[in-house]
Amino acid sequence: MADYTLRELMTIVAAREIRDGDIVFCGTGISMVAAMAAKHISAPNSVIFFETGAIDSKLEEVPMAVADPRVMFHTSVNGSLADAFATMQNRFTGKKVVGVMGAAQIDPYGNLNSTVIGDYRQPRVRFSGSGGACDVASFVSRTIIFMQHEKRKFVQKLDYMTSPGWLDGPGARGRAGLSDDSGPAAVITNMAVMRFDSHTKRMYLEGCYPGISKEKIVENTGFEVDASHAEEVAPPTEAELRILRERCDPQGLILG
């Protein structure tokens, strides 16, 4: 079996979530590499699309921010922020968009906090804030979330809800004015892949990474999580790894 790093595994697991034809909204870092990898692996007709307005950039080098000049090269259109978010909110194009994002905290319904820990006006820890995350989570058909699997990050109640997941359960998105058919699809952590029950909308453990026990994952999750159906996640293949290392991030800027 191939040798791989945890970050490589997470990237490949995320890449597998992307379907051919998806318009992939991604942020900086690992989510961008996952989207790049998906184009080479299983979704050749997927389109990488940045909230900054760059559509289908030719990523000859890894961008270090969604406004990196590298995203502006050889695009279909260099649009504005307004154009980018309208594409996600649009009734027709929005349905094709999958968003890949991260956060500081997640709750059982996939709601995310990337704003503060502590009181909002007197924060103990201040994070970057929403950026486009709340927009993406509000608009697009499904989202894939990257998380570090720690008890203090998988919390029963967020300090601040920046981006809507399934809110407080079945029908809640619809009641709030969002679409009931869209929402978080998967949470990819450094230990596992989590999904959301189609009835209760609560997070459950779908797959454990090779060598990580269910118990360890449950232990590192700050709320009750159904682990009864979890299986082992397939590791990255050699071909997948080659693509990551040779074509997506040869300088090791993100995965190195």
Binding site: P69, G129, D135, T162, L178, I254
Partner: protein
């Protein structure tokens, strides 16, 4: 080329940016921030600013770090991989030195767009059900005391057209009309017609929403150079109050087809910003200690400036060491 709008940066900032003003700056994280103007504001010691930002990044962090900003409306305080959360912003927010009100990128973009369009608000579905709607950064007293702030952060409203567009409910976000917006562009004409290359971000909306507009540019060119391809220009001259030629005016952030961001500067900045004493030293040495932006560029030196020069094919510095 003559035009009463052409002036040097210190004059433009002195004339159009006053303590306590509501201002907005263009660019996004590490790209096309009007850094020459940001540094000149710091040099002139203008403070008490109310800053509107979406994800403007480096410029926001430096204005906060230098103590120019007392209130901030923002979507994202980060500079990509160099600072996933802007360091001086984080510090100021945690220490209670800065009143912060959070929005999303699209909400901020729509607010500038509303200001540019001359409407009091624009609708979106973004943020329904979240704390962006529930939690306000500024108190009712703060809002009431400044007529340039709306009384409400935003409003949630049922769709008055029933479920038209499959949308039962919307968030209305209020327009922003800054006292002054500053953007940095690749080219301007003497009267202000301006061209942005690469992604425009929300610069055009920010520019058109403002009472006054300062445009800094890599080069002031003959009007004809711009008018030969008017589809490529975004800012009509009558929106512009001051045109400033500021070569490397976005440095250390990038300016597409001219230069890349400087990873050395941004890495050093992270180090300085993480420590109060180092940061004071940074401000003194690089910003306040030089006469103007050309002084900073001189300090950086030709070698590093050459290293970030854009490759004409890609528009960025191909193969630049960015670790």
């Amino acid at each position: 080329m003559k035009s009463e709008k052409i002036m040097d940066l210190s004059e433009a900032i002195r004339r159009f940016v006053k303590p306590g003003d509501h201002i907005s700056i263009g660019g996004f994280t590490l790209n096309r921030n009007p850094m020459a103007a940001v540094y000149e504001i710091i040099r002139q010691g203008i403070d008490g600013l109310h800053l509107y930002a979406h994800s403007n990044g480096q410029g926001v962090d430096e204005l906060i770090g230098a103590g120019c900003v007392s209130r901030l409306e923002i979507a994202y305080g980060g500079t990509g991989r160099f600072a996933p959360t802007c360091i001086r912003f984080k510090k100021a927010a945690q220490e209670g030195l800065l009143a912060v009100e959070d929005y999303s990128n699209y909400q901020m973009t729509l607010r500038f767009m509303a200001g540019a369009m001359g409407v009091p608000f624009l609708p979106t579905r973004s943020g329904l059900g979240t704390d962006l709607i529930e939690k306000w950064g500024f108190s009712p007293e703060t809002r009431a005391a400044d007529p340039r702030l709306p009384n409400d952060k935003l409003k949630v409203m049922d769709n008055p057209f029933g479920n038209w567009g499959d949308v039962p409910r919307v968030v209305l976000v209020p327009a922003i009309n800054p006292d002054v917006t500053i953007i940095h562009v690749q080219k301007s004409g003497p009267k202000g017609t301006s061209r942005i290359e690469g992604l425009p971000f929300s610069d055009v909306e920010q520019a058109k929403s403002a009472r006054h507009l300062i445009v800094t540019c890599e080069k002031i060119v003959e009007t004809d150079d711009l008018r030969d391809a008017p589809e490529s220009n975004q800012i009509p001259f009558f929106c512009v109050d001051a045109v400033v030629e500021a070569p490397h005016g976005a440095y250390p952030t990038a300016c597409y087809r001219h230069y890349d961001y400087d990873p050395v500067y941004l890495n050093d900045y992270r180090k300085y910003a993480s420590d109060d004493a180092l940061y004071a030293d940074y401000l003194q040495r690089f910003i306040r200690g030089v006469k103007d932006h050309a002084g900073l560029i001189g300090l950086i030196g030709q070698e590093r400036i050459k290293a970030i020069a854009a490759d004409p094919r890609t528009g960025y510095a191909t193969g630049l060491d960015r670790k």
